[in-house]
Symmetry: C2
Amino acid sequence: MLSHNQIKLIRSLKQKKSRQSHRLFVVEGLKSIEEFSHSNYLIKEIYTVDANIADKLGGFLISTKQMSQISFLKTPNVVLALVEIPLPEKFKENGLLLALDDVSDPGNLGTIIRLCDWFGVAHLICSENTVDCYNEKVVQASMGSLTRVQVHYLDLAEFIKQYNGKVFGAFMDGEVIYKQTLPENALVIMGNEGQGISEHIEQLVQEKVCIPQFGSDKPVESLNVATATAIILNEFRRSVY
Amino acid sequence: MLSHNQIKLIRSLKQKKSRQSHRLFVVEGLKSIEEFSHSNYLIKEIYTVDANIADKLGGFLISTKQMSQISFLKTPNVVLALVEIPLPEKFKENGLLLALDDVSDPGNLGTIIRLCDWFGVAHLICSENTVDCYNEKVVQASMGSLTRVQVHYLDLAEFIKQYNGKVFGAFMDGEVIYKQTLPENALVIMGNEGQGISEHIEQLVQEKVCIPQFGSDKPVESLNVATATAIILNEFRRSVY
C-alpha cells in the first residue's frame, strides 16, 4: 500500500524545497488531521496503522514499520496525512494584522499562529526569511490553528510601504505599550529571536512599543518572541474590549 | 581529570532523585554559568574544553570526548558546571506571587521562570508534582533567570490556606481579567497543561479569571500555560504601572 517512491516523497517533505515543488506538507495526529479535513485545506492522502481510522477517514492502512519510515516524530502517531499547500491569495488588510520579520524558530512560529487564532488575527504576514509555516514542527506546534489563520509570505518592506493603517513595532527601547493608543486597524511587527526587527524594517515603523520590565535591576535578556507577541496582541485586544 | 565515577555522578544528575541526594544540578553554557557564579548559588565544579575558560573560571580542562559523555545537550557546549541546590528558605509573602499547580513540561517551567524575572516576581511557588526546576531542560530554558527567582516546592493547598492576600486562579470559564481589580499583593495560580487547576485547589481560589478569546467561533483548545502566564502577569503589572 506504500511504495518505495511514496515513502521517498513523504520523507522529502521535511525540506521546504520539496514541499514547494510538490505543494504538499505533512500533518500527524488524528485531532489535527480532523481539523484540516474540516477546513479549506485539501487532504490528498491519509496513512494510518489503525483500521478504524482507515475506515472513518478513508485512509490507507499501513504497518507500524512503514509508519515509522514516513513519520517525522520520534514517537510516530497512528495517522499521517499529506495536505495540499494552498496557492497564495489576496486578502483584506483591515483589522489587526501581525507581521514577523525573520522569525526563525519553528516552535515560536507555531505558538504565534495559535496566538493569532486565539486573538482573532486572521492574517499573519511573514517576511520571506521567516521559517516556513508548513515545516512539520510549525504544523505540530500550531495544533490545528493553521486551518484558521492565513499565513502570507511576502516582501515585508514592500507590504508595509503600501499599507494604509498605523505600523507598530516591538523594540526593547520603545514607548511603554500601556500608554499608547492602540487602534483597531493596525499592523504589528515582531522581530527575529536574536536580532529583533531589522534596520530597513525599523525605518518603516511609525510607533515603537515595548513591554516594560519590572523588579530586578539586573537585565533579563529579553522576552521570547512568542511570549512578547502574546502580551502585545492582548494589549491591542483589551484596548477595544 | 575526569574519573569514571565523576562521569557516572554527573550523568546521574539527569534524575531528580540523584539531584536531591547529591544536592547538585548541571548548568551548561558560559553565559548561564557566569550568571550562576555572580548569584547566591554555589558552583562546585566547572568542566570545559576551552583552556581560556578553564583559566578564567578555574575549571578543569577536559577533552571533547569527555564533554560529550557528561553533557545533557545534543550538541555539547564548551563548558559545564555542577551547582549546589540551595536549602529551602522562608520567604516574605508580600507583593505578587505566582503558584503552579502541577505544571509538567520543563520548557514551560523554564519560560515561566523567565517571565517571573521579567515581571519582578521574586518567588515562584510550585506544587510538589510540578516538574523540578533543576531539571536540565528547565535550567536551559530559564536562561539564568533561575538565579534571580526563588522557586519553592511545597504543599500548595496548605500554602494557600495560610496565605493572607487574595487568591486568583486562571480558568477557561473565569471572569474576564480586564474587568477585575488586580491588587499589588496577590497570589496567582496557573494549572497543569492538560488538566488545568485541580479541584481541591479550585476550591481555595477566590477570584477565577480568564483571558477572553477573540474572533473565530471555532474554539482554540486553550492558550499554552506559559503564554497565559505571560498575559496574566502583564495584566497584574499594568494595573499598578
